[in-house]
Symmetry: C2
């Protein structure tokens, strides 16, 4: 299942509006088919994996990070129907599809056809790979990551605005991978005016994965940019399941103040700046106790001499 | 040797002006004597360990974090003479004593008496336990730790100054242990005026380990406080090998600007404050490239839901 989740990660930033499911067909202990949701959402992961496995699907086990869909659509048949037709003996799933058109009906259909079904295997891992899709299902908006590149004392730039460079090459390359995993990047108007950032993915082989660019402003956006009048406008974005907020302190605060950040991505350099530009403007906090219990460390690692930390918003 | 270093840690904050050496006497694979430099510096660790071992010292091995001293003083005999008189067969040392009165002469004396000597065992570990003494020997001043309790966005308080609490109980208890490991704590005048901090050690069994308190100010200090007119004045402090700078942003900046901080002790809570009080005032940094290469992560751990990070100043 971990391998299926990893393979599903390939589709992140590409499969919207469909979830970036990963699937494997295993026969006699060997992987005979691999699939991930294709750009634009079709074919689905299971369909791709079954196509690769061909006749070896018969009697095999399908591992899939999300319950196979129960609903046929004009764009293709239901994966549950494909799995039944292919004669798989067992389906192991990560989690139930929250889409009301499936929501357990996929598993029921498989079971009715005599297929053994196990659900909830590595559910956390599977959910993490599909956080964009799941956030849209649960909260009706894209999953939002706020990226900050900080000194140890929490500055994103010197007082004069210079920020090249706080973090090193490894951290900056990592940040470009994060860009490729989002469908859209947002910056504030101040950042756009001051830095005119390209916000593209400058990594070999991923040049084609640069996301759409948006500026948080009521003014008409410049060419090549989209405009977001307010953070809440992200709910209306088509084809965006993962949003990356890249700067600056005003945009960060705007999203945080409306509780629209699901993930903090902190790149921290081993430097002290002192009296520099703070990372986050006012978010309306008046009592420290209100700040607690919201964020949980999910990952912390070294990137060259820098550290990356990932915090996730805890929602009950 | 790691055990000897740990035992030497007991004397930290107590043994000035002498180093907080730890020593063990091992005979037939058993520890028969343990010693650490006693409050005020005497007896030395080796003398205490030999006294505990008694006749079992004959033919035994002495592990000591620092070369045994070669110089007798009015306060007691030289440890090298004591080890020879006790008939130990072997001495394993962590590092040469930089005190010019010993500086290799202790080992020479042992060797001349037919004792096998090995030096440099776990030298880094031993040096870390005696950083106060070593900093005074090398830089002519106490070892300085700057403590900061921060939000993820680098704030030490809300904009209105409230900072209770940013970190949780485990982090605050840890900070009290750090107080007990220093001979003096320094705060800025602003912190003294605003918070009137007690700066004592409020941990069961360590109440007697509260360090001296100083305020960074040219004004006469209040009762119970000492005054430091400037960071550089720490060089003249008697009986202080470990100095803890506890707050606020002005004091932090004053010590950092003069490159008088050896260790950053960061307690980081999983909260975002936004537009709060920054951790460090201006330190005179005008070019980001000057900020790099100075700090190296030495330790990072969880303390409840907070994280502690220890960075060390890299000096060539």
């Amino acid at each position: 299942m971990a391998a299926a989740a990893a393979i599903g990660g390939r589709a992140r930033g590409l499969s919207a509006p469909n979830p970036n499911v990963g699937a494997l067909i295993v026969s006699d202990g060997r992987i005979v088919g691999r699939g991930w949701c294709q750009p634009g959402g079709r074919p689905h992961a299971e369909a791709m994996a079954l196509a690769e496995a061909g006749a070896k699907s018969r009697g095999a086990t399908c591992y899939t990070t999300l319950e196979p869909c129960a609903h046929a659509s004009p764009r293709g048949p239901a994966c549950s129907a494909l799995l039944i037709a292919a004669g798989v003996a067992r389906v192991v799933g990560g989690m139930i599809d929250p889409d009301p058109r499936t929501a357990g009906a996929g598993y029921a259909r498989l079971r009715a056809a005599g297929i053994a079904v196990t659900d909830g295997v590595l559910a956390d891992v599977c959910a993490a790979t599909m956080e964009g899709f799941l956030t849209r299902q649960r909260l009706g908006r894209p999953h939002v990551t706020l990226k900050l590149a900080l000194s140890l004392d929490g500055c994103i730039a010197l007082a004069d605005g210079s920020s090249r460079w706080i973090t090193g090459a490894a951290a900056r390359a990592h940040a470009h991978v994060e860009r490729a995993r989002a469908e859209m990047i947002v910056v504030g108007r101040g950042t756009l005016t001051a830095d005119a950032p390209r916000l593209d993915v400058r990594l070999d082989g991923l040049e084609g994965r640069s996301p759409r660019r948006a500026v948080l402003s009521r003014d008409p956006p410049p060419d090549g940019w989209e405009g977001l009048p307010a953070p809440a406008a992200i709910a209306a974005l088509d084809g965006v399941d993962h949003l990356l907020v890249e700067g600056g302190a005003g945009a960060a605060a705007a999203f945080l103040a409306e509780d629209l950040v699901d993930r903090l991505l902190l790149y921290r350099a081993p430097i002290v700046i002192g009296d520099g530009r703070p990372a986050v403007d006012a978010i309306g906090l008046t009592d420290l106790s209100d700040a607690h219990g919201r964020w949980r460390l999910r990952d912390a690692r070294a990137l060259g001499s820098d550290r990356i930390e990932v915090y996730e918003r805890q929602r009950s």
